[in-house]
Point group: C2
Chain length 372, copies 2
């Protein structure tokens, strides 16, 4: 019986089925069909690319957000400022994915017309993987950029409390024979999920990932996670770790840059204001900001020349001698493309607790469940 | 006598005198007056901001470059591609500073007209501090960005040889009561100069700054510097250090991004092609690339709102609790602004070997020397 259940749980799910399920869930929660399809696609794209932390494991949060009114199913989306190459959009507290998809489309159109286009979004929610939107530029022979601010988890250099998010930066650039370059990185050394893994394993984590409540680096992942819950201080360290010795001030600067471009420029909330609460501690709708940008390659150089040079650059890196004991040098995005090809073919294996969660959502909402 | 000489050597130099001296040097080497003034200003700005490694200590390299024909004093600068919001400029192997100054001016003009502007430069040389050009946007109430690729010193994650430069990224954004945010960071953990300091002191450097010729992290700064000379392998590590454990692949990705935007997009040399040599090892003119960008703040949001939010964001960070033993949290650019104010007032103290070098240049070129 147990063996059967385990087999059942690790049965891979086809991406299209997972997408259709998520779409039904969103539609049941009054999200318009097109918005539901976009959001489902962004979630499943994360699973396909191997970024399971940002995939359907997050569906529960969106379901809860839509149910308790923290996220608006049919938001009033408004362009609040526009020039030939820029725009700022108010997302009306709706889901982050549909507004981000359309913001990126708008940036692409501006770049097609005039060479470059940039759109910021305010009053939004978690938008999934940053890379999804950057990659939308690729089929137009454009370079895409996507950033978002996020829940406060990261301590500034020399600080004791988390005041910034893991604020990711994604950039995608096309190539010819080689795969596109797709950088998609949080500006913290590691995401919170990495600490959860070390806590589960009961393993000390490396010094330089996070600090305790005094602002001192610690190896105790459980302590840091507990401190997050209690808002006791400490948090994740920016890329480069604690202090300035290993460049932690640079990771801190990148996180701050993301807050400037996503939130200060758009009019969204920044720093510790991102997830506001009432005076008695009840959560209020978040006001996350995003930043999207597009450069048309042939506004600088003929596309074929650019792509040939992208191929050559990648090959120079990949074919250069390896460090002792290392079989391979990667280009950013390469691992994810390989994983997406494999998972498109073989299906997506979800963790048992994610499967249980999806099943529970189906029951709660009376949505057909056909993933097993 | 010795005491007197030391006193003489640490005598601070006024910025305007240093600037005038550099300008005379460049003009003597047939650089047009305006180009000489721009280049001198960029060099002395580095000294004022406390970035002495990029200040007049580099004058010797420019002098040698101009004398031996590796840098062209009166280059043929050409706009090779242009759209309403973008341009690519061929610098004609001239000094990096004048073409970069004018490229940034052009990007600012495009942003003033249409909201954003981006200019790449190819066939250029070392352009000094990246932040100088980003900061040019500030007085126009714009956000400025500046990047350059650079001499090959950085090993990719899992690589054995240096294939990328320290490829800096600079971004400047205006504020109101607070100082502007000015991020200006190499994408390596530390610059080569840091290793030279540790070598002089005979101190082991932290693991995670650089690797030996097998690609293994080392604490021996002298070994790494020696390996650079012998082209024996190893080099500086990207921000985040060796491997992926502390995020080294992110620093590597940022360095690669800079190569894509500065060189692949402009048609400049990238990776290990930046400083080419003849088959028998003689240096050829370098073909460095730069990338400049400008966003007009009010193309997204009213300037006063943006600046007020910049002030508030900075204060939230600076006023947040400090890590144990830390007196202060900094905003990027703050240290440099404070240093520039102090040095503008008190003068610039040059290292004795830099003073000796400037004196020697004056003698060689028959230029008046009035810095002591």
């Amino acid at each position: 019986m147990d063996a059967e259940r385990i087999t059942e749980q690790v049965q891979p799910v086809r991406a299209d089925r997972l997408r259709a399920f998520c779409q039904r869930v969103f539609e049941t929660l009054n999200v318009p069909a097109e918005d539901a399809a976009i959001t489902a696609d962004v979630l499943v794209a994360a699973n396909l690319r191997g970024v399971d932390s940002h995939g359907v494991a997050r569906l529960r949060r969106y379901v809860n957000g839509l149910r308790d009114g923290m996220m608006v199913a049919k938001p009033k989306v408004q362009v609040v400022c526009e020039t030939p190459t820029t725009a700022t959009i108010d997302a009306g507290a709706g889901l982050g994915q549909p507004v981000s998809y359309r913001a990126m489309q708008r940036a692409i159109q501006k770049a097609r017309d005039l060479g470059s286009g940039f759109v910021t979004v305010r009053n939004s929610n978690h938008y999934g993987i940053a890379g999804y939107y950057a990659m939308m530029a690729l089929e137009h022979d454009c370079i895409g950029i996507s950033m978002t601010n996020a829940d406060v988890l990261v301590v500034p250099t020399f600080g004791r409390n988390a005041v910034l998010g893991t604020n990711p930066i994604a950039v995608a650039a096309p190539a010819s024979q080689e795969r596109p370059f797709v950088l998609d990185m949080a500006t913290s050394t590691v995401p919170r999920g990495k600490l959860e893994v070390y806590q589960r394993l009961g393993k000390p984590m490396p010094l330089g990932w996070a600090t305790d409540e005094t602002g001192t680096p610690t190896t105790d992942a459980g302590l840091v996670l507990e401190n997050f819950k209690k808002r006791a201080g400490g948090g994740l360290l920016p890329l480069g770790g604690a202090g300035e010795l290993m460049g932690g001030h640079k990771g801190y600067g990148l996180a701050l840059l993301v807050d400037v471009l996503c939130a200060v420029l758009s009019g969204a909330a920044y720093a510790d204001l991102v997830y506001p609460k009432t005076p008695d501690g009840k959560p209020l709708p978040s006001n996350i900001g995003h930043f999207f940008g597009v450069w048309r390659v042939d506004a600088f150089r003929p596309v074929e020349e650019f792509k040939a040079a992208m191929d050559d650059l990648q090959r120079r890196l990949k074919n250069s001698p390896k460090a002792e004991g290392q079989p391979r040098i990667y280009i950013h995005g390469e691992k994810e493309y390989e994983e997406a090809e494999r998972r498109s073919r073989e299906g997506i294996v979800l963790e048992p607790k994610v499967v249980a969660d999806l099943r529970a959502i189906a029951v709660e909402l009376g949505v057909e469940y056909d993933l097993e």
